[in-house]
Point group: C2
Chain length 236, copies 2
């Protein structure tokens, strides 16, 4: 946890009161912080700065805050991610958020087990948890949107055209002869397939939509490696 | 598993016999491959190509192989990695190997729990397993070396000077003002710290040795995210 995040309703003027057990435990057990100490803090979807601890108990953390900094700039890319195994999904979602992605579309493809969509990993509680963990790790305050699409065709036909307007379009594909470009400045969409990859039909549909296949050389990465690898190379 | 790997002693001329249950199960249960089918195969530390299945049973996989390709080129960087939590270590080691690292030095730093070094994750059996999983994922045949250093000072004083000769030296550090460079061509060493980071004393020692601090912008990554992120950006 590299920043403590609070909701607007948790503050009155410059005084913030946090009751989330997970956060309080971290401050007490990991940071071992006591009254008078300063911690990095940020208002969700707002500015960030420092908070001075006024009081801390297992029930409540009270801080006086000065919010004088902007969060780090968002990563200018929409991520389209084939749903991985639920355990991997949690880590991968966190990674994408830590790397500054603000729009993530999780999709069903042929090689995605449809049972994955019944997993508690996709509950709104869990997604909110991963979002918070990802932002707290990065030191960021801006909430991303995470949208789940249970069917490929409606996503490709109805959602994609709008997402893709005026954007650079990339699809990570191990067989692509072109290595991923660096520091892409234009707004982009990046699609990353499941373990085993997209099937030819899916690749064709992305191709028709204007997606350019890119690779990480000859090496084939796991999804959880591909997300930080492509994002860090292309958009940071 | 994107390539089947075999040891030289498992082959006679162009015929390879594999008895590793993990590999046979994968071919039967995941690939559902049967005699006559071709699979990607490579000789450990040697060339790669295709193998035609001659016979397959739960006990044995026999293939006729043609090895006419080189493995992907190695990533020209030595990775110095502070030992993460054992579970994270496994994933991170695999990621580094999949991304082509051929020399990994795992070190103790102040913020590394010394119990991590007693973990079975560091047994030679487990390290060998992660190496195989990493290479099989990448589609690579070249074994990396993984060296464990249980003490910081002897590593820095006795091992580092030799490792670092005639190399670009980088240390990933969230506070660094300089973002990681792209496509570094020179042989390099990259040091990645533990969760919580290196302590000032350690940073000073790396600094004295000529390491340049680099970051991923203002965002602070987890170790398992940092490894693919920095490697993919800097060395692929």
């Amino acid at each position: 946890m590299n920043i403590i995040l609070f909701h607007p309703h948790q503050s009155v003027n410059d005084r913030v009161t946090i009751k989330t057990p997970r956060v309080i435990e971290h401050v007490i057990d990991v940071l071992k912080a006591s009254p008078g100490e300063e911690l990095k803090i940020g208002r969700i979807n707002g500015p960030m700065g420092t908070g001075t601890i006024e009081a801390i108990s297992p029930a409540e953390l009270v801080m006086t805050v000065t919010l004088d900094a902007s969060p780090p700039s968002a990563t200018n890319c929409i991520l389209v991610l084939a749903m991985p195994r639920p355990k991997v999904f949690k880590r991968t979602l966190q990674a994408a958020i830590t790397l500054g992605i603000k729009s993530i579309h999780v999709i069903k493809t042929w090689r995605v087990d449809k049972n994955y969509f019944e997993s508690p990993a996709l509950s709104s509680d869990n997604i909110e948890k991963q979002i918070m963990l990802g932002l707290e790790q990065a030191g960021d305050t801006l909430l991303p949107e995470v949208v789940i699409h249970r069917f490929f065709k409606p996503f490709i036909e109805d959602v994609m055209p709008q997402l893709c307007q005026n954007k650079n379009l990339y699809i990570a594909h191990p067989c692509a002869g072109v290595t991923a470009p660096e520091r892409v400045k234009e707004p982009s969409v990046l699609a990353i397939g499941p373990e085993g990859g997209f099937i030819p039909y899916e690749l064709e549909r992305f191709n028709e939509a204007g997606f350019v296949p890119i690779s990480m050389g000859r090496r084939i990465l796991r999804v959880e490696q591909a997300v930080p690898a492509f994002l860090a190379r292309m958009f940071i």
